[in-house]
């Protein structure tokens, strides 16, 4: 009913809309975090309505990454432990070495043993990006990734996010209200009044 969205492998899609238009709700439905009252959502070729919440968690493990506006790091864990966790869960060998490398890649080689509360917003989002790309996921969901950052830091974070996405060949669905940021994606959708419409991408 008004919403029909397909994100292809390795494709970057931006989801624009005003506050309260339902962007994050749609992201939650597509990621299997929430249950639709009607309609069907597929993630990695799996009909999410056919599987339980526990099965959806297992489906996401190692194949889906997340970056949130409020960073959502685990407060009692260091930066390194936050990145190690999904790798360990996925049974990756040498999880610690991989996590260290990812944190080096996002420029936090010297802040690995710091707790989230000891890091700045930009640093926390870098850790979140490192965690999201741990295990090279097939899909990345990003919910307003620069929403809590200043313009300069936000630009650095977006650059980092797209660099890693290109390296891992990951499909991206990014919720944002920033038109400029949306233009970096392959396709742009706008959610308005409960309807989703594709916006023509300007040729640069």
């Amino acid at each position: 009913m008004g919403i029909d969205l397909h994100v292809n492998s390795a494709e970057a899609v931006a989801l624009l809309g005003a506050s309260g238009s339902g962007k994050s709700t749609l992201l939650g439905l597509l990621a299997g975090l929430d249950d639709p009252t009607s309609g069907t959502a597929f993630l990695l070729q799996q009909n999410l309505s056919d599987i339980s919440e526990e099965q959806r968690s297992r489906l996401r493990l190692g194949r889906v990454g997340f970056v949130f506006q409020s960073f959502q790091l685990i407060p009692g864990m260091t930066a390194l432990e936050n990145v190690i966790l999904p790798l360990q869960l996925a049974g990756v060998d040498k999880a610690t070495e991989q996590a260290r490398q990812l944190l080096e890649d996002v420029g936090l080689g010297r802040r690995m043993t710091h707790l989230p509360r000891q890091l700045s917003g930009g640093e926390q989002q870098r850790v979140a990006i490192a965690r999201a790309f741990a295990g090279e996921p097939e899909v990345l969901f990003a919910d307003e990734p620069t929403g809590n950052l200043d313009a300069e830091t936000g630009e650095q974070i977006i650059q980092l996010l797209f660099d890693l996405r290109d390296r891992c060949n990951t499909a991206l669905l990014m919720v944002t209200h920033d038109d400029q940021l949306a233009k970096r994606c392959d396709r742009i959708y706008r959610l308005q009044g409960g309807r989703l419409s594709e916006t023509a991408q300007e040729q640069s």
């Binding site: 994050s24 939650g28 996401r60 959502q72 685990i74 009692g76 999904p86 869960l89 707790l115 965690r131």
Partner: protein, 458 residues
Amino acid sequence: MMAFISRLKQNRALLLLMVALVVAITAMTSVDFFVDRVDRQLKRQGTALMAADLVIQNGAEFDQSWSDKAIELGLKVSRQVSFPSVLFHNDKPQLVQVKAVDAEYPLRGDFRADSIDGGSFTRGPQTRQAFVDAILKSKFFIPGREQEVSIPLGNLQLDLRGIVQEEPDRGGNLFQLAPRLMISYDDLHDSGLLGPASRARYRFLVAGEMAAVESFRNWAVSQLPVGARIIDVKNARPELRTALDRGHRFLSLATLCASLLAGIAILLATRRYVNLAIDAAAIMRTIGMTSRQVMNRHIIEILQVLVFGTLIGIFLGYIGQNVLSSLVGNWFGDSLPQPGFRPVLIGLFYGAVLLPGFSLPVLLRIRKVSPLRVLRRDIDPPDASSLFVWGLAVLSFAVLVLWQVQDYKLAVALMLALLSVMLVSVGIGRLFILLLNLHAIKVPVLDWGWQRCRVMLH
């Protein structure tokens, strides 16, 4: 271990939970360690006061089967008999309490008699010899002729060889006012004093390994003649035993009240821990952990708190009892013996009941965390039912109280008293709220204080 210490540093709610548990276990085990030491001291004193580990007392002589059985079990055996008699010295009568002991006496404790020629004895008199109390000394001894005193007893003339100074099983019998005359058990029959109706008290003493003594006691119960009785450390000094039991109950109840406060601290600390864990659980669910995996992770953490908190509490309890011992330990005579392992087991039991009892229902909320909380922070897992939370806490506490006092009437009385105090406190609180509301200060009703309350003053 290092990872757990690191977690405690990172998570203050977890540290608070552990501190609450340590306080509860320390309070309980310090009392238990101390009582265990006093109990061991009383047992030690009790056996010394009986001159044996177990005594069978009868109005007639014990036959050979008693010795055979005790020796078969590897126990040491001693026989004695005591009865009142009258001595005549210089035609004056003197009431005495005769005690005939064999060469094995005493099996426990110390016996000492000063020899009239300057030495001392640690065993009873030999055949045809007698020891007396110091009070009789002046009556029998003639200055300058101490070596030549002879005491007539029935058909015998006994040489007075010693003055009794220490006699372990003499006791404080109010009706035993007559001075002691101690003779050899071998002289008993030759004295001709005892006949079939004599008022003699025969005692059969055994000592040895605890298990062997217990076996002998079981055998003795089945063989006990009519009118005979068994004396052991439990009834050797009933006045001290009763005082210890009452003291133990009082201290245990007092520390249980401290534990109740610690239990409530555990509950509050668990709430704080869970509130932090809920956010982390939502993130973990999002990145691929199942609710069971998330729950297991926290259960392992709480188990670590249980193990380390209990062990630290037991250790501090051991330290604490040393303070108690240094303050009041000398009330019980010599230095107290070291405690046994029982208080450690008690500490482990407390931990195993107290922590789950006060934290489990709140902890189970973590299992119900939805991953959607990462996008919508207003989605809280349902609160644990108040009935479940407080019901399990009260039940755990009741188990500890009942187990500690071993008296269901006292346990029920204590629980009712605590409940009354709680209800009165809640009643007073509600009265205050009512008064505040009357003065136009809006305060929401507190749901009997179980739920979180927010006081909003306008």
